[in-house]
């Protein structure tokens, strides 16, 4: 049985939320952190909150953001699993392509689905398309018999609904309750997470 593994990025593969990290570059850390928390708690929809957060951070040059993102802490156990199975692992992130592309390509090294930025040179203009994570899973259906999804937030719900196995992972913070309700497994430790993934290889 051919299995695809789909990982959320922020707070799942990364041990820090990326947008609050970027916001330290401009003096908007508190504001972005608050918006991020409200989104994680499912109090405001990801789409709106993400567009707003991008707007707030759009004054920072894309290359500056990429440099910050490149330093983000990753969960080594998950990264090792992805490296060992890179042809069947996918990052499925609501984050912007121009911000996370380099991180994924150079450090995580697998294929990805992300939101798309509207930009001109090094200047971010806005969000062209916010990724519907369920659509990413649907796309992978053609190539795989089984899809395993790993995530922690509200915007992972559509991915879990379309996947065969959902693992709510509380590596950085508690997974939101709505996602837990759509999951088969819940765990807070990345070695335990990998132990489950190995069973579905």
């Amino acid at each position: 049985m051919k299995t695809a593994f789909c990982f959320d990025l922020d707070g799942t593969v990364t041990k820090q939320e990326i947008l609050p990290l970027i916001s330290k570059e401009v003096e908007l850390h508190e504001e972005i952190s608050l918006l991020t928390q409200l989104t994680l708690d499912g109090l405001i929809p990801f789409q709106n909150s993400f567009k707003l957060r991008v707007k707030l951070l759009s004054t920072i040059a894309i290359s500056t953001v990429a440099k910050v993102v490149d330093k983000v802490l990753l969960d080594q156990h998950i990264v090792d699993f992805i490296h060992a199975n890179k042809d069947h692992c996918y990052i499925v992130t609501g984050n912007l392509d121009v911000w996370v592309k380099e991180l994924i390509e150079t450090r995580i090294k697998c294929d990805y689905f992300s939101s798309e930025a509207d930009y001109m040179g090094d200047q971010l203009l806005g969000v062209k398309n916010v990724l519907d994570k369920g659509k990413a899973v649907k796309e992978l259906r053609n190539k795989y018999d089984r899809i395993v999804a790993v995530g922690d937030s509200m915007n992972d719900c559509s991915m879990f609904q379309k996947a065969d196995i959902g693992i709510a992972f509380g590596g950085t913070h508690n997974p939101v309750n709505s996602l837990v309700k759509l999951s088969n497994f819940v765990t807070f430790d990345s070695q335990s997470l990998i132990r489950i993934l190995q069973k579905y290889k």
Binding site: G170, V180, N184, V186, F188, Q191, S192, R195, I196, K199
Partner: protein
């Protein structure tokens, strides 16, 4: 530790106990029941707990005791049995595992008796002196092999709810765990003392007989 995997089934309502809380969260002494189970399983690498009724409370309590537990969800806990929970918790393991009901109390000494009796490639069923109201009695031959299960009092021992499964898989549609074991009989057994909390009477009994644990 020769036991690598353990599956605790703690999804049920525990309606006979009559508390609005999962049985594994019943307070016994300083801690809640599942604390003591996790304590005897502390050297087991992979511990899975099947959760259902008030799962968020179980998850919240357990993760503060042992962060690396894997919770397996049984959203249909109110219309399914322990056997189905054990299927969910074990069907993808492909490795031997110990199963324990999430409403049991076992002390370290008795769990050691069980673990010492395990031969890693063979199934082992723990039996205990029959004492529960709806016991599943286990007939034992001269070599300590279980030859038969029955709801009728055919022996002074009952199926305890603790077992080591090395060679067979739970089916998805099983009614009771002992019925899943049945086609594989005869199987080796080991006698140990353990307590199950099904009714308020059981709770009193445990508080009196096993207070040394708490």
């Amino acid at each position: 530790m020769k036991v690598k995997n353990a599956v605790i089934c703690a999804a049920g309502l525990g309606s006979r106990l009559g508390l609005d809380t999962p049985k594994c969260l019943v307070k016994l002494g300083k801690h809640r029941l599942i604390y003591y189970l996790l304590d005897i399983l502390k050297d087991v690498e992979n511990v899975r707990i099947v959760v259902g009724f008030k799962e968020e409370e179980v998850i919240e309590y357990v993760k503060n005791i042992r962060e690396d537990v894997v919770f397996v969800r049984n959203p249909d806990y109110s219309s399914t049995t322990n056997s189905y929970s054990l299927y969910l918790g074990s069907h993808d393991l492909n490795e031997p595992f110990v199963t324990i009901d999430g409403d049991m109390i076992i002390d370290e000494k008795n769990f050691k008796i069980f673990v010492d009796a395990i031969d890693v490639n063979e199934d082992l069923i723990a039996i205990t002196k029959a004492k529960t109201e709806d016991a599943v009695f286990a007939k034992i031959d001269e070599n300590d092999f279980i030859t038969e299960f029955s709801r009728e009092p055919i022996s002074k021992y009952e199926w305890s709810g603790v077992a080591y499964f090395a060679n067979f898989k739970m089916s998805k549609s099983g009614q009771y765990i002992y019925q899943e074991i049945e086609p594989n009989l005869p199987l080796k057994s080991v006698l140990m003392e353990c307590w199950e909390i099904d009714t308020p009477g059981d709770l009193d009994l445990v508080m009196n007989e096993v207070s040394h644990i708490f």
